[in-house]
């Protein structure tokens, strides 16, 4: 019933997220020929820009770069779904009702994290048929195993953002501020990626494992580390708070 409550609190955001993810996945498929055409028309020498060259080379490489390696979209859904929950209940004053149930405070946080990760996995899986359909449309089918592996990995990259959102909610007790702090953290990691700072350690780098022969273990350590630390800090904060 803990899971049911989290589902009940989050379901509207989850339904809205499904709508957006499906829309974005359809757009992703539909935009491929347009992007190809625009780049060709622009007379850019794509041989000098490997990322652009790869992107228009095939629908598979386009999907790897635009769908799997751009983790921000998934992180944004993670932040939105992780907001609220028991940590924000002090503001709505239902916290005493919730704390009157024989459930450890840390259990609420573990469940919230787990449920949000499940929601994200479901969202990414729901987008998979569009990617498969795109493969058929452009006669460049993507293996199902590749899509599934990418989906699991993509879901995993959102874990630090979900963890940080839970931590920020435990600190601020307020959805709006937690949302702002979480997006600031997302922008920070995005900028680090853009300027190639600490690149191997960024969650973005983990997705390159999907297309490169090397396993980006630093990125995985970073994902697991940030998630674990943020959840432990959130639990500590929650358990020490008087309501």
């Amino acid at each position: 019933m803990i899971a049911w409550k989290i589902w009940h609190d989050t379901r509207i955001r989850f339904y809205a997220s499904i709508f957006f993810v499906l829309g974005i996945s359809v757009l992703h498929v539909a935009l491929f020929p347009f992007l190809k055409g625009i780049i060709k028309m622009s007379e850019i020498d794509v041989s000098q820009i490997p990322e652009v060259r790869n992107m228009i080379e095939s629908f598979v490489s386009y999907t790897n770069i635009r769908w799997f390696e751009e983790i921000e979209r998934n992180a944004i859904f993670g932040v939105i779904l992780a907001l609220g929950g028991v940590l924000a209940e002090a503001k709505s004053k239902t916290i005493l009702l919730t704390l009157g149930l024989p459930v450890k405070r840390r259990t609420w946080i573990f469940f919230q994290f787990g449920m949000v990760m499940l929601f994200l996995l479901a969202l990414n899986l729901l987008a998979s048929p569009s990617l498969i359909a795109g493969g058929y449309i452009y006669n460049q089918s993507i293996p199902l195993s590749h899509i599934l592996l990418g989906t699991f990995m993509l879901t995993l990259t959102a874990a630090p953002f979900v963890g940080m959102t839970i931590l920020f909610t435990s600190i601020s007790g307020d959805n709006l501020r937690a949302c702002l702090y979480s997006f600031a953290f997302l922008i920070l990691t995005n900028k680090l990626d853009f300027f190639n700072v600490a690149d191997p350690w960024l969650p973005e780098s983990f997705m390159r494992t999907l297309v490169e022969p090397t396993f980006h273990w630093q990125a995985l350590i970073s994902i697991v580390g940030i998630t674990t630390v943020s959840l432990i800090a959130a639990i500590k904060r929650f358990e020490q708070t008087d309501y």
Binding site: H8, T94, L97, G100, L101, P102, K104, D242, Y243
Partner: protein, 307 residues
Amino acid sequence: MSDKIIETIQLTKTYGDLRALDRLDWSVPSGSICGMLGPNGAGKTTTLKILLGMNHLTSGKALVHGLDAATQTTDILKSTAFVAEDKILYDKMSVENFLRFYGSFFPDWSLSTAENFIAKWNIPFGTRMNALSKGNRTKLLLASALSRKSSLLIFDEPTEGLDPTGIEEVLSSIAACASEGNRTILIATHRLDEVERICDRIAIINRGRLQLSGDLDDIRSQWKTIGAIGDVPVDAVRKWENVQNAEREGLRIKLIVNSNPQLISTRLREQYHISNVEIQDMNLREIYLAATGFTGGSNHDRLENLA
């Protein structure tokens, strides 16, 4: 198991410089209905929250069912039903969903009992909780708690927001619940009439300290006012053991004593040669005012203050 279902030992809680609870030593025996009284900010709600692990104690110890409230909260909550002062519900849930959700955490909870309360108290079953009136929210929370067979029920201001009929219904149900087996009920409230009606014990807390605790009938038999006319030095009498307060009203001296009224009456007669000494009963309101140190003002002022 100890026959004290609740026990606090030197329980202290501070918020910065504010000492909300100050070395509170208090216990509630199993099977009693205890009314917890005290002015606003006395420390009643803080005590309840510490007992249920919602607040952390600064020092001392709090035990419920013999379990440490600081470390065994989940076990305490399994056998304790609680209704908080703020009767706030999950607005997006329906009444039916809330009952199923709440009940799922407690094996001792009965849906049929809850449904009986819902029907008896006319709470709309299929409604979303944000459509419920304040009174119905209070009733719903009480119905949820009373549908458990827990050995301890703790209510913080249980009749808040209820109309007179609702108050009657709720108090009757609480009293009936108490009569089922060995159940202990602790009620924190400002409503002295409700405490007088259903409680067999009281505890009065003021400024974080226990002022008075015990069996209500025993307290009534010990707390008396003694009136006498004569030349009696008030300041000297005030220092006597068991004299809570002494005041002069014209020629008349009025003492409030918290024990041995006969002994004090005899002492007054013998020491100051007064023949006309009257011992009078005190009602709970007077006992409460005396125990919390309220001395000044007319009866009208006192009533205003209480309101």
